[in-house]
């Protein structure tokens, strides 16, 4: 490469504590980063990506310790340097951009106040100069109203704008290294593009080196010069982006590359009475109509994917079907019969027929209940199972979602991984023996390999149990793999509706085309081509 080495990590070992024992999280990883270079770190959750990223700042989370190896940042050994020196580097020469900007900003302070903190504390520039600088960076990050946006509070700007504001904040002291930890994972595809483009430009223009952590291969292909693949704390392989994408050497890397290949055959169109049909529904909160005259049907054994960006009303549609939000106009029919608008007025059997699986399994499962009760309760309530019959049913359900009953039945949700928690959410829905399951972004909090497993599980269950799915998602790759029918929503209306094959091949609406073109592809030139095609970018 010929450029100077900025960061050099050798044989790094990091341990995490569980109970009294330390177990390794990162097992002797080497990492070299040159000035101005972008390194992508990828791997599934638990691979140690974030832990390694934080270690590049000489930092270990609570309950973790750096137990071996060296971290050399521009001649400073971060492991042995006194805390004062490390603190002097952080925010000034090394900056960090977290996954959830919404959770990382302090909601009580305006964006610009938080921007100015690092440069002023580190004595890089005065408050006045920092403010001027902030406006300049906001402009370069293509934020709307760069002069004013800093004077808003975090809740007053959108998620994508916050993420860009956070990147601007990381650039405040013109650091030599920025660590991006999944900066676009929580964003919509259409928003993700803007953020990716802004991050990439600013990193290139200012010649900053970066470590870009993500589980999304297509994203890392756009951003990184080199890619390093991690698996359970070990390095699998490292190569520059193009050769890695073209010819991965290791079997594990190939399996990561192949992960998006699952796609089931489209089911034949539904006939007979739909399980659920939504007729001319208008609904909303307060004076605002979030749904405007929405209609669609869901048939047994079919998956209807409802797609759109946040705020398009797709979750609201689910809430109307579930009875959480009584519609202002229109009605919901189940098996041909009109359902009472509010869930309180519905009979127990009507409630049983329609179950929900939530996006965040963490908040959807009561953390204080054991799996036995979490899964057993619907079976006990709806089907009147007790004692031995109930126990058998719980074990059957656990086996159905591929968890070993003896090992798991008495666990708490906190003793499960993210994918396992989502499986419990599925088991809880199945316990009621429903006809329709509403899946609200069920895979978006999971990494790709786990997503794939959950989708396969849902597909298998649908065949075995004759279920209808309503699949709410903003991830079109998920739609491609599991849907039969697609409903595209924008600002509360259905803009396009049809079978998956036809809709993906020949989208009729501009909005659908925009959504489809925003799905990142593995090709490293994809972002350039897209931006050029949209004419937003020279």
């Amino acid at each position: 490469m010929g450029r100077d080495i900025l960061l050099s990590i050798r044989g790094l070992r990091i341990d995490g504590r569980s109970g009294d024992a330390w177990h390794p999280i990162v097992k002797g990883v080497d990492l070299t980063l040159h000035r101005g270079e972008v390194l992508g770190l990828i791997g599934e959750s638990g691979a140690g990506k974030s832990t390694l990223g934080l270690a590049a700042m000489g930092f270990a989370r609570d309950g973790c310790r750096i137990s071996g190896g060296t971290i050399n940042f521009d001649g400073i050994d971060l492991r042995t340097a006194p805390e004062a020196i490390r603190r002097g580097l952080r925010g000034k020469r090394i900056a960090y951009v977290a996954q959830s900007a919404a959770a990382s900003f302090n909601p009580a302070h305006r964006l610009i106040d938080q921007y100015c903190e690092a440069p002023v504390v580190h004595g890089v520039m005065s408050r006045e100069k920092a403010e001027g600088d902030a406006v300049d960076l906001y402009r370069r990050m293509r934020l709307p109203n760069p002069e004013d946006i800093g004077f808003r509070y975090p809740h007053q700007v959108s998620g994508g704008q916050l993420q860009r504001a956070m990147t601007a904040m990381a650039m405040a002291c013109r650091p030599d290294l920025i660590i991006f930890d999944e900066p676009t994972t929580a964003l919509d595809v259409t928003t993700q593009i803007e953020v990716l483009a802004a991050i990439r430009d600013i990193v290139r223009q200012s010649g900053t080196a970066a470590i870009y952590i993500t589980h999304d291969l297509a994203v890392v292909a756009q951003m990184a010069d080199r890619i390093k693949v991690l698996l359970r704390g070990d390095e699998v392989e490292e190569a520059d982006t193009r050769s890695m994408l073209a010819a991965p050497r290791q079997a594990y890397t190939r399996s990561l590359w192949a992960v998006r290949s699952f796609a089931r055959a489209e089911q034949p169109p539904g006939t007979g009475t739909p399980v659920v049909s939504v007729r001319n529904v208008t609904a909303g909160y307060g004076a605002v109509d979030v749904l405007k005259n929405v209609s669609f049907d869901i048939h047994a054994r079919r998956t209807v994917a409802v797609v759109g960006e946040s705020g398009s009303g797709k979750s609201t549609a689910a809430r109307v079907i579930a009875g959480l939000l009584p519609p202002r106009k229109g009605q919901v029919l189940m098996g041909g019969k009109t359902l009472p608008p509010g869930f309180r007025a519905r009979s127990r059997d009507e409630l049983r027929q329609c179950q929900m699986i939530y996006q965040m399994a963490d908040t959807a499962l009561n953390p204080k209940l054991r799996l036995r009760e979490l899964i057993g309760r619907p079976a006990e309530m709806y089907l009147g199972l007790k004692g031995r019959a109930l126990e058998t049913r719980i074990r059957d359900l656990l086996a159905l979602i591929e968890l070993e009953p003896d090992t798991y039945i008495d666990r708490l949700p906190s003793e499960l991984s993210g994918g396992q928690k989502q499986r419990i959410g599925i088991a809880r829905a199945l316990a009621a023996e429903p006809q329709l399951i509403i899946c609200d972004e069920v895979t978006s909090a999971l990494d790709q390999i786990v997503q794939e497993d959950i989708l396969k599980l849902l597909d298998r269950l649908q065949g075995e149990l004759n279920l209808a799915y309503m699949f709410i998602t903003h991830d079109l790759a998920t739609v491609k793999s599991i849907a039969d029918e697609v409903v595209v929503m924008q600002q509360g209306t259905v803009v396009e509706h049809g079978p998956k094959g036809a809709l993906f091949a020949r989208p009729k609406q501009d909005y659908t085309r925009l959504l489809l073109s925003s799905v990142p592809e593995m090709d490293p030139d994809w972002l350039n081509r897209l931006l050029a095609a949209r004419g937003e970018h020279a």
């Binding site: 579930a322 959480l324 869930f343 409630l351 908040t363 959807a364 009561n366 953390p367 309760r377």
Partner: protein
């Protein structure tokens, strides 16, 4: 000098009690709960030992106590000497005997009152958070109005209306303290009722009682337990204050609060006897809070 020595001896003794109690608990606990006691801090095992001792004394009071509870035995204010190891009070009753009976009355009443206040306050508070709307508004404003009246004056008023007996005492103090518990339980539950798992349970068609008991209460336990430790001490003080005003526990029933008052004159003569019941209250308070802190730390997983 003596003060210093007694402080050191006291601390040493507590340390030994804590160690011994922890060892005993570990040995006695069933295998399932053993890990819980293994990580137990010394303060918690000391607290448990003290509470256990109080309970034993309270239950076995008639057996342990050398004399009768209200028996007048001799001169007033006798010094510490056999057979009255802690002297006598202003009516010539044995101090040690009355301390032992006091454990029974004061601790028993305070515990019953706190428990009642918690059951009522927590259930109503969580229910208000769950129901929302006018039900919540009505109940909360009523509680606000009750809280606006100074607690002691309000208790006095109620006790004057309903008459003084142990039962009314318990009910009145429980009612006053339940308002505080209600506020806490409601605000904690408000954070919980917005979680997806509560929505899932509601959509399942669960009734309010199940929601309160199985879904919300287990998640609200940590702050409620912390409040229990504090509230228990406040109830102690309320009972003592009411006894002092003649509306609490009636003589000749022994009660630590009134014992302090009755013998307060002795303090002027440099005698520490009146401070013994106060010390008994303080020790129990500290012990209860040690145990509660430990449970709190376990429940919230602060150590991990």
């Amino acid at each position: 000098m003596t003060v210093l020595v007694s402080v050191i001896v006291g601390l040493g003794l507590s340390f030994v009690i804590g160690l011994a109690a922890r060892a005993a608990l570990r040995a006695a606990a069933p295998a399932r709960h053993r890990p819980m006691f293994r990580d137990m801090p010394l303060t918690a095992s000391f607290g448990l030992a003290v509470i256990l001792a109080y309970v034993v004394v309270a239950v076995l009071a008639p057996v342990i106590a050398p004399f009768g509870e209200g028996e007048v035995l001799g001169d007033q204010y006798l010094p510490w000497a056999a057979p009255h190891y802690l002297g006598t009070d202003k009516l010539g009753r044995d101090m040690l005997t009355r301390l032992i009976y006091g454990a029974r009355n004061t601790v028993g009443i305070a515990f019953a009152t706190t428990a009642l206040a918690f059951v009522a306050g927590a259930v109503l508070g969580i229910w208000a958070a769950l129901a929302g709307g006018w039900m919540d508004q009505g109940l909360s404003r009523l509680v606000d109005a009750l809280m606006a009246i100074p607690a002691l004056i309000f208790s006095l008023l109620l006790l004057t209306i309903f008459g003084t007996s142990v039962l009314t005492l318990i009910l009145v103090i429980a009612a006053v303290d339940a308002t505080r518990v209600y506020r806490l339980a409601r605000s904690v539950a408000q954070g919980i009722v917005v979680m997806d798992y509560i929505e899932a349970a509601r959509l399942r068609g669960e009734g309010n009682w199940h929601l309160i008991r199985r879904e919300i209460l287990p998640n609200a336990m940590a702050p409620l337990a912390a409040e229990f430790g504090l509230r228990f001490c406040f109830v102690f003080l309320s009972i003592s204050a009411l006894s002092f005003l003649g509306l609490g526990i009636k003589p000749p029933t022994a009660d630590w609060g009134s014992m302090v008052r009755e013998n307060a004159t002795l303090i002027t003569f440099g005698d520490i006897t009146p401070l013994l019941p106060a010390g008994a209250i303080a020790l129990l308070t500290v012990a209860v809070n040690f145990v509660v802190d430990w449970q709190l730390q376990r429940a919230s997983g602060l150590k991990e």
